[in-house]
Amino acid sequence: MPQGIRDKVAILGMGCSKFGERWDMDASDLMVEAYSEAIADAGIETRQIDAAWLATAIEEQHVGKSAVPLATALRLPYIPVTRVENFCASGTEAFRGAVYAVASGAADIALALGVEKLKDTGYGGLPQRGRGTLNNMTWPNLSAPGSFAQLAAAYRAKHDIAAVDLKQSMAHISVKSHDNGARNPKAHLRNRINIDTVLKAPMIAEPLGLYDCCGVSDGAACAIVTTPDIARGLGKHDLISVKAIQLAVSNGQEAQHNLWDGSYFATTRIAATRAYHEAGIQKPRDEIGLIEVHDCFSVTELVTMEDLHISPEGGAIRDVLDGFYDAAGTIPCQIDGGLKCFGHPIGASGLRMIYEMYLQMLGRAGERQRSDLPRIGLTHNLGGFPHQNVCSISIVGHLGT
């Protein structure tokens, strides 16, 4: 096994724009908004950044291809800048690029910025896109809710759960995230809802109703990373370091081979196991204090609790209904509102999650601050479809934890 990156890289500064329907903002404005906060937090100047990574997923909708849009928006001084795209894991992918650059010694200070400007489509929901020449000929024209909704069918069949019981538990997840989002000034959706609102909402893709789906938002998030030594040299104390970053990418097995039953994410299980090993975590349920997962849909969050090996298989419903993942629960999940309410500007989402970890661990999360100051936190992204996806997991925590 490789030795991994545990504690080799520390976060120097972070920033996040307000997420939402930013009708008056271009992607470049959002980038600057997130970056301004991060660079001020880092206490450095732009010229001190050695390399940068830009994450966007649906670039045809806003900035177009390449890393030029980031270099131009921030007037980066002709440094190496790379654009990454890996579905909804793009933000974490950019973070991984920056962290690896620092860990390798190739860069002293590196920047990761994710941005998505989705609200120029003219309609609600994610843009309808092609899937590639050959896939277009054989795949359904599946929407994101339509692909993730299928988890519910397979999960119910596997665990012999009545549709109403599963839907009740999914509703709890959405209500919880709206409660959390209401306490987050940067969140897209800040309204509280109740179980009834969720259950009676218009159907989007059976069994996912409107409130089972996350917000489609404009936004940007940003991280500046360096080595712990350089961070200390710049006057930083109480460092938040990177414990693990893992990616698992489907190789067609779920899509083509009958081993997978459709009720879970094969990638998440693999990435989680590897990330815990890299971070030195033995018992995730006992050792992790905070999680931000890819709650694109309520059912995704539900099954992810099991795939992260925190809830036992078939036991997520119980934990959810018991409030285990509520803001005041044992391991809060989406304390910032999550994709559901903070919003989901795709390229920014992975970095937004790390931003929340950073704030919570440093006690800077305002009204939604967890009083116990979590020591170890996990972020998780899923891009694509349950049967064919990219999963990324990051674990961050206080240096030396």
């Binding site: 309808q128 599946l142 069918a153 159907m203 893709a205």
Partner: protein
């Protein structure tokens, strides 16, 4: 070994529109529709056309037949979607007929079906004749009321036939009862009474007499008389004029299907073969710019074949559609708001389609020679994680394999001409799976484990370029669903 009809099959779309619905919507402008508001007509789902119905009818006919023995494929229709692209090429590939088989599109007249069959009966080898029709009609027109959509398939050749040709006669006359040109979208009909008196009555009876005489038979020797016409009692009048008794006149399928144009003579012939007894004689007529008369003698009763539905089975397999606007929208007879998601580009790169034609059109995947794992689509490296052998895949067809629903949804967000879009993971018995569209399903009835059969359908319509692409979809299994 005798030459004749070796097998036959049919396809009638599952959707039926009650004529009452058409009359209720349109009698304000055409009051005569009220009097015709009886029974129902077969209508295509949005993803069906003359090509997909031809594939379905061909599969029905070939259910118990060796496809590699087929040496020619004739597709008869006046509503084939492609004017310059061999429609029989699509059908032949979807049916996995030998690439060396002759393939012809035959059209131009309502008697294209009988002319194709007559021609095939002169061929050596085995010819699959498929007559298929999906006519568009103007809203509130007589044609909208009486037409139906369907396909019939008849395999002729050397073997143990169900029926053999006894005699035939044909006549060509440029008698224009209606027409449709390259400039027009709909038929332009002339007065029915003139068509009846000067067309059917003047042309067909003498031809029947000539046909029977050439075989040394009399009108009383005809047990079944198949004349496609939606005009009430016209078939009887023609039969009587030729001396054929009323009892021999076959049902024109008006009540449950409608007049299927160029497909109808063969559809009626197949329906008759399904119930005819050995020794009986069937006189099949095709009318259009003259007429064809074909006299068959039934040599064997139609055997019961697993997976074969025929006309009678398809008439039973039905679902009523009560929404007239939906029918108009399916046939592009109304400009309906489809939403911005419908604007997604549906370009099919023809080079990529050709490269993958076995995958897309024939639904052929792979079987690993090393580990035996089945997969779709075929790939250079085996998907089995315990194998991953390279270049070991042999072609493996999935079209006739039952798959089971592993996961599903009914999606109301994505664009489809008929929301919700139902799709999911289909897991094939014996191995292999694919995330694919469902069709002909009831969203509320979907469950994990439901057995599904594969059906060849329109995948997407590229309105911008006038192209349509086809692929296979999962529909509830008729055999296993019972």
């Amino acid at each position: 070994m005798t030459f004749g009809i070796l097998a036959c099959g049919a396809y009638i779309p599952r959707l039926r529109l009650a004529r009452r619905v058409i009359a209720e919507a349109n009698s304000w402008i055409n009051p005569s529709l009220k009097g015709q508001a009886k029974g129902e007509r077969a209508i295509c789902n949005w993803d069906e056309d003359a090509v997909t119905m031809a594939v379905a009818a061909g599969r029905d006919a070939l259910a118990a037949h060796d496809r590699t023995a087929v040496t020619a494929l004739y597709i008869a229709s006046t509503t084939l979607p492609f004017l310059d692209r061999l429609n029989a090429g699509i059908v032949g590939e979807a049916l996995t007929l030998p690439p060396g088989a002759h393939a012809l599109d035959i059209g131009g007249s309502q008697r294209a079906g009988t002319s194709a069959l007559s021609n095939a009966l002169n061929n050596a080898g085995q010819t699959l004749v498929v007559a298929t029709e999906n006519r568009r009609a103007k809203a509130a027109s007589q044609a909208e009321m009486i037409s139906g959509s369907a396909a019939a398939a008849i395999l002729v050749g050397e073997g143990n036939p169900l029926a053999r040709l006894v005699a035939s006669a044909t006549q060509t006359a440029d008698f224009v009862d209606h027409y449709r040109t390259i400039e027009s979208e709909y038929d332009y009909p002339w007065e029915e009474r003139w068509v009846r008196d000067t067309g059917y009555m003047a042309i067909i009876p003498p031809l029947i007499t000539r046909c029977l005489a050439s075989a040394g038979l009399t009108p009383a020797d005809v047990s079944h008389f198949c004349l496609p016409t939606a005009l009430p009692r016209l078939a009887n009048t023609v039969a009587n004029a030729a001396g054929i008794p009323d009892a021999a006149v076959a049902d024109n399928l008006h009540t449950g299907c409608g007049d299927t144009g160029a497909a109808h003579a063969l559809l009626m012939l197949v329906a008759t073969l399904e119930r005819a007894k050995p020794g009986e004689r069937i006189l099949a007529v095709g009318f259009g710019q003259g007429a064809d008369v074909l006299l068959f003698e039934v040599t064997a009763a139609m055997p019961a074949i697993a997976g074969h539905l025929g006309v009678s089975g398809h008439l039973t397999r039905r679902r009523e559609e009560t929404n007239y606007t939906k029918f108009l929208a399916f046939n592009d007879n109304i400009e309906i708001e489809r939403g911005m998601r419908a604007e997604t580009d549906k370009l099919t790169p023809l080079s990529a389609l050709w490269r993958n034609h076995e995958t897309v059109t024939a639904f052929i995947g792979g079987k690993c020679e090393t580990c035996g794992t089945l997969q779709f689509p075929k790939s250079r490296i085996c998907v089995n994680p315990n194998c991953n052998a390279v270049d070991t895949q042999q072609p493996h067809p999935f079209a006739d394999t039952i798959g089971r629903i592993n996961s599903y949804t009914a999606d109301r967000l994505t664009y489809t001409p008929d929301p919700p879009a139902c799709y999911g993971m289909i897991q094939f018995d014996g191995g292999g799976r694919w995330m694919m569209d469902f069709t002909d399903v009831e969203p509320d009835a979907l469950t994990v484990g439901t057995p599904m059969q594969m059906t060849f359908r329109i995948k997407d319509i590229d309105a911008q370029r006038g192209f349509r692409r086809y692929f296979w979809k999962a529909a509830p299994s008729i055999a296993e669903g019972k």
